[in-house]
Subunit: 308 residues, 4 copies
């Protein structure tokens, strides 16, 4: 079949749509692994560096789809994905039968399902494969991919994704990659705010923050935010809290992911009390000057005092 | 001084007040380590087993204080502690100068400070040393003690507490043991509810709970409630969720500890948004039939469906 | 123009799509006021009563649009509205130039805007006009309509809506009718839960509920839920709390409206801390057997005790 | 009995302890009504004005109790009340049998009960009578008193309180005055935050704030904060939002009252989900520069934008 012939087609051209902070280093890693890359982006200047490295740059997703039967997309949000796939110059306008379309954007799983349906009508296969890990992990090829879609295509997807990530996890039907990403980030957000509140309370009660961290980490309060990404300046090195909350994972991005979690919860009628409140807290932080700081700056947000 | 003579007095009598589910196995471990124990409890029947094992049973805390210059107390809540120390038959009525008084109850740190002040007036030393770990850890001598009080007395306290626990951590001035306990349990509560919400949402979105657990535990959503005490039946063995939420740490006790966290936060004017909401959620669970179940039953509480 | 000729066309045919619990009595009131009604519904049995009263029943929204240039729609949720307007047998397939389309459903204002745009492309005018007031107000013609759309068309819309409602309020551009409805219901939900929590706390503190109600209503705690729709059984007559929370405004419907509020807040990046938590509380109530009760049953939900 | 002889003793001396912003105008109103006032305050300068108006100033509450058998106290918080009644120079040191002691402070109802018990032991009667209404109402004698205590003494209390307030409401046993005050302010806080969130959301959705206010006030969203004390600048005149949130009821005071509500809820195991979150929101505002502004500034707090 078309599909199997494409799966065999190792080291033939791979399309890439979306050359932003994440997409650009991801596409570079494909080049490094010897794949010819055909790319496009709405901002032509984003394409220059990749072009110099040997990628072919085209004008639209449709043109990319005309040339490559394996395409990866990495876009900011649901409307961009809808446009890139189903818009007037979208991938599906020219997609070849049997093509494999992998979307690594973080979007609403309901949109992933819609795209999969639309792709299926054109004889193509769509998988969602959002990532965890930031720009650093994208550059070093250490991303984690959470992949949703038909299981028979997972091997073909993994072949490409392994060039860009250290872990490629199959999650189930289309949309479950997004679901896993959203779930992880919701629990991460809750754990981070919880850690910030707890550290702040402990300090107010006279505890040394390093000692409290040590106690939490050997006890049942332990979590990733307490033992790996502690939000209190002076407790750990090499984390955003040690660098005035610069770098890392921005509060705006966390608020966006929690908005997705909220939408999926509302649509599935699932109660998420702490998840909702976490969303609101990061939303409020965005409204009060913390939009560009790492999300662990919630410690600073809670801590500020009268008169400061 | 009186203090140093007492500190030297290894294997002389140790007083014990409060022989409940926790206190009783703790006192037994003191006996096992060769300490003569002089004990009392408001319920005489609680004393029988210890008496058969060789402990001397007296009628009141005051009488215990008259005979022993090292006393451990293990009581349900602040009012009991106040009564046992400063009541008409309380320890401080007959305490000897230089005595070491260690309170392992979980109470408001402000009460610990009051007791320390009252003890100091009588020439005695008070330390707070609440525990983490339940009845099982109390029986096997594997408790963790978080100790607050004057640092010079920590060695003397540790000598006794080591008979009953695997970890004895010095936290700082009086009250910081309570503070550490309260902080850990608040973060634990937040992590548990967060894990329950996340697992429920993931399942609704089509993810297999074991797979989602695996993904969280290799990612930034990882926490003690996801990797050690998972609240979803079928994911782990040997945890309360595998046994209809029996045993473990009761919802009522968690609600009590969160009430302490809320009080200390209110008194120190510390914002704890998720901590407050976690308190309210466990409080609501107590009102709806979950009081006696393990606190991880919050998964079941959130999950129940219309018509069930 | 086509529009003004239609506006003049008093007592000519009016189309009506959606003859459910609300739509049916609304359409009857149009008949009572002498308007010939041409109606349709996906469930043919819903049409019988109206047919007997003289309405003409057709098979699809498209056919209604083919005959009437003023159409009112009253549907359960956004997907239904999208289908009825833009589906294969939808109104816009056969809409006449200059038609006035009024949607009284409660939906996401973003969908109202989409429908208005789609209608505009066909030369028609779309207005959103959601209602407050339940089945009783629909029957007695006492609904309140909150209307969004181009101001020049408001008079024409009001002519029809006045047959079905006591108040017709112009809110602004398309979508603002929905916005006003959503805002009111969010504040209503917050006030109701707040009243329930407050009454419950007061009762626990020894206050008589009637006396507490009186005090609140003469003070700054006063709100519609305390003075008009008190959730505590025995305080007022003629409200759902006096009738085991039957009738009134169902918890499911409130949860749906709060879901819309949450969506619009997420999309506009607006923090709604209490609004979000209110949404989650009603969602949790739906999951625990309160779906069909009036939303004031939140008092009962919070109140239930251990052992009951 | 002593009590009845005192009740008859109209226009004999009245003691007053606590001459702060509220106490001072209250005591003046007693003078205006012809009562000889014997007063004291920890800050001597607070007494000058009253002294010039004819009041007798003494050095301590005990001395006041030695001379007057009807005493009113108006103090900032629970510890002050405990000191003024039971401290070494407190009222109960010299209180006459049959004295009537009325505390208008806003404190924990549990403390009111303790004071009542302590007074009873000395043969005196203690009532709690917290007020609603601020400094303006205190000056003009328009306060509302919520009174708890033995019903037979209410007439005697009302005689005095009527000089200072427009409404004197009997609430039940000791502590219920505080309970009523706390309950009202909790619902007020929830209504205010809810109104602020709702107005902000409506404005973001394109509604005019005056129009939205009008719609809410004719609908079920109506509450005191929407119709009497609207938090949006430009909607109403003569309220703090019209004056940069100056004057009115300070955020710190609201946070304090919500702390009391939280304490009583924790102690009575009452779930208050919105009440708790409201407490945390005002607490956070205090930490971020809003401590001295009127509590309706929560609108501004929620509204601030990125970059501002």
């Amino acid at each position: 079949s078309a599909v199997s012939s494409r799966s065999m087609a190792s080291k033939t051209q791979v399309g890439f749509v979306g050359l932003g902070n994440m997409g650009s280093p991801m596409a570079k890693n494909l080049l490094k692994h010897g794949y010819p890359v055909i790319a496009t982006d709405v901002f032509p200047e984003s394409c220059k560096e990749l072009q110099e490295l040997g990628a072919q740059i085209l004008d639209s997703p449709a043109e990319v789809a005309d040339k490559a039967d394996r395409i990866i997309t990495m876009l900011p949000s649901s409307p961009n994905v809808i446009e890139v796939y189903t818009g007037p110059n979208g991938i599906l306008k020219k997609v070849k039968k049997g093509s494999l379309l992998i979307d690594s954007s973080t979007i609403d799983p309901a949109v992933s399902k819609e795209m999969a349906l639309a792709a299926e009508k054109m004889g193509a296969v769509f998988m969602d494969a959002p990532v965890s890990g930031g720009v650093g992990a994208a550059s070093s090829g250490k991303l984690t991919f959470m992949v949703g879609g038909v299981e028979e295509e997972f091997t073909a997807a993994k072949e490409l994704l392994s060039c860009m990530g250290a872990n490629v996890v199959y999650c189930g039907q289309v949309g479950t990659g997004q679901a896993a990403k959203i779930c992880n980030n919701m629990l991460l957000a809750i754990g981070m705010i919880g850690t910030a509140e707890t550290m702040n309370l402990g300090i107010r009660l006279g505890l040394d923050p390093k000692l409290l961290t040590k106690i939490l980490n050997m006890s049942s309060g332990r979590c990733w935010s307490s033992d790996t990404y502690n939000p209190v300046p002076g407790v750990m090195e090499g984390v955003p809290s040690a660098n005035n909350y610069q770098g890392g994972f921005g509060t705006t991005l966390m608020a966006k992911d929690l908005g997705l979690a909220q939408n999926t919860a509302t649509n599935t009628k699932t109660p998420i009390l702490l998840g909702s409140l976490a969303h609101q807290i990061f939303r409020m932080m965005c409204a009060r000057g913390y939009a560009g700081k790492d999300f662990s700056s919630v410690f600073q947000f809670l801590r500020e005092e009268e008169g400061q």
